[in-house]
Symmetry: C2
Subunit: 202 residues, 2 copies
């Protein structure tokens, strides 16, 4: 047997064993229902992973509702693109980042209006995916009560997926979520002096 | 001053200080060029964050090339959706996960064909964003040489963004990347017995 054939044979045997393990895990996961996903942490990818799921859901014919809790700008690529897509209902309901507004009362009022919009999606069985972008920030600053937000999330239609994004997800939300990812910074272009680039950061 | 007014005043002062810090960081980041982003780690969100950037780039009128190195299936929501979009060139070039094929020689050949497709995007100044989905897996198994992959990535047009996804990004790739995120598992629905759901996992 040549060295390459030997390498291939060992690889193939290892992969056959791995397939058994993977298949048994797949067989064990049989519950079918909507997933509550939380993307948190300080790294890049929390919102963009949410916007990737919008494409995924639309490809399966699902309707999608998006509420942006903090962002006030309406010049992002994702908004320009998705507003053109049938099946997407997009709501920019923030007043800008908290250090831009410097006005807590206005931020609280904006967050409450945004939550009302979110609730209308969370009560609609026709909406397959709800993206609550930067909701964690509104919770972190106490603009919304985590208990009532969690109650509304848990009362949603059984097949509905929800994605919540933003740094510092509160423990009460992590506790009830199905999948939670911490986007951990290994390195970031911004720290190396690269500007926030169109198509990458907005 | 009422308790609420006092809380608001303290919040507003804290946010004014935060704005100074944020503004000085923004002023320091002035380099404009394409970003090499790597999404790695064991958690959910590596590929979906890449597919979110596709929407972002399209919203800015950029053309996008996608190459899937491992995935062989063509029934995903993201593919169905993005194949309908002008400006997207989508290539599923894997043969399925390595433990499904159990055929290293075929996997190596598929990876090389996929890299040729990737190179055609990496040489095209008209392509604003290139998504190399699961490339890290092809590198991890040695299907492609990391040195030649890195050389092709670094020789791309200066304004072109690239996203590389997959577990276990090799250190040589992390070293040359601008932004690297480790998607870290906090919890995952699959471990709790929930099936991979349409619109969420595929």
């Amino acid at each position: 047997m040549s060295e390459n054939q030997d390498k291939d044979a060992r690889h193939n045997a290892r992969m056959a064993r791995k397939k058994e393990v993977v298949d048994s895990h797949i067989a064990a996961a049989q519950i079918e229902r909507g997933v509550l996903l939380v993307n948190t942490g300080n790294g890049k990818g929390k919102s963009s992973a949410g916007f990737g799921l919008v494409a995924r859901a639309l490809g399966h014919g699902q309707k999608v509702g998006v509420v942006q809790f903090i962002k006030g700008r309406s010049d992002t690529g994702e908004e320009a693109f998705y507003r053109r897509q049938p099946g997407v209902s997009w709501h920019v309901m923030g007043e800008g980042f908290t250090w831009e507004t410097q006005d807590r009362a206005r931020d609280v009022a904006a967050a409450h209006a945004a939550w009302e919009q979110a609730r209308s999606f969370l009560r609609d069985p026709g909406t397959g995916l709800v993206v609550l972008d930067e909701l964690n920030i509104a919770l972190k600053y106490g603009y919304l009560e985590v208990e009532s937000v969690v109650a509304d999330l848990m009362a949603r239609p059984v097949d509905q997926h929800v994605v919540v994004t933003g740094r510092a997800a509160p423990p009460e939300l992590v506790a009830v979520a199905d999948t939670v990812t911490d986007m951990t910074v290994v390195k970031h272009a911004f720290a190396a002096g690269i500007k926030a680039m169109a198509g990458m950061e907005w």
